[in-house]
Symmetry: C2
Subunit: 215 residues, 2 copies
């Protein structure tokens, strides 16, 4: 099934969740599922599910449901998860360590190839079979291996300098855990931010609204 | 300035970012800013900024710009960041440790009161002056202190049981780092998810689109 152009970003944002449910259904041995069943599982409406899947071609048969395998493979391919984008991670504090150790990079389209930190005490330590090395080696590594993606797990204050160096090395894709607004500095980069404190503030709004603590 | 009802969720989602820029402007000693300047800083359009601020009353004066202090205070109050919602954190792996140690809970509307883990080796360890305690104490603590919010930094497999216990303790607000879909089980909870692997997949889609690796 070929992918349609211009899938809306709101559909794209829902795809990872669909994908996670497909993984689960596959693991449970479920082979087919109706839009209604899937909608119930995911707390969506059946028409929303059908609409979403229609965006990239639709592959249900009336009264027969969707093939879980086909949906899984299709969503995987739309997201590009069968890629192996060379990736480096910078910053091995608790967060960087959690990210390096626990994310399934290989199953999400990435190949984690190097880990850097400026703290010499960490150099040589192995995280998922990759030795942490000095941040001074970033240029050498990039010149040799041309990674495409950088994961930034460093404090905001450190991002400006590091980003300048990474950009000069040709890296244009960033997974950014800091509050530094990379896209403000660089026009042609793609940044996916994980702004944990924004998420915490959104929750605070929702609680305050529910608790009646807002004027 | 009083808050309007029914601010759209897309405006709410932008508020934390506005808030971060206000913090920065305050730190730089900037007192007034025009919608155009702010829009430039944030890579938005001036009309978008004005529209957003109009949603909650608007407080710019034509040709005179916005007061940074007033905007800061107003957004803080809209988000409810002056609250002190009692909060517990469960799971002190690398991620839980990073969250416990580095988030500015007090400035985001929360008061972190207790940290739990099932691993006895961690009991007694102090993270930001809070002793990690056995997850068996959750009920005791909740009965005594009635926290409102639980932060879940535990593996997906563990969430079902823990959530059941937290729900029984009356906790209805969750900051969830696992892939467990809490809102599927419970109708009346508010969950803010940080799905890091979804974010990684979205980035993969964007890279694949840019690199022309999608059919």
């Amino acid at each position: 099934m070929s992918r349609k152009e211009n899938i809306s970003s709101s559909v794209i944002k829902r795809l990872p969740r669909y994908y996670r449910f497909m993984l689960e259904l596959k693991a449970q041995g479920v082979e087919r599922i109706s839009s209604k069943e899937l909608a119930n599982m995911m707390r969506l409406t059946a028409s929303q599910v059908r609409q979403d899947f229609n965006c990239f071609g639709g592959f249900g048969q009336q009264g027969y449901g969707y093939s879980v395998n086909q949906l899984h493979d299709e969503i995987e391919s739309i997201l590009g998860l069968d890629s192996k984008y060379g990736t480096i991670l910078i910053g091995v504090g608790n967060l960087g360590r959690a990210v390096a150790a626990h994310m399934s990079f290989e199953e999400r389209g990435y190949s984690l190839e190097a880990i850097f930190d400026q703290n010499s005490k960490l150099w040589g330590e192995k995280i998922r079979d990759i030795q942490v090395q000095s941040a001074e080696h970033i240029e050498d590594f990039c010149n040799k291996h041309h990674p495409k993606v950088a994961i930034l797990c460093i404090p905001k204050e450190a991002v400006g300098d590091i980003a300048k160096r990474l950009y000069a090395c040709g890296i244009r894709y960033y997974w950014n855990f800091s509050h530094y607004d990379l896209s403000v500095d660089y026009d042609d980069v793609i940044v996916e931010n994980v702004h944990m404190s924004d998420s915490l503030m959104i929750l605070c709004y929702q609680i305050s609204e529910k608790e009646g603590n807002l004027d």
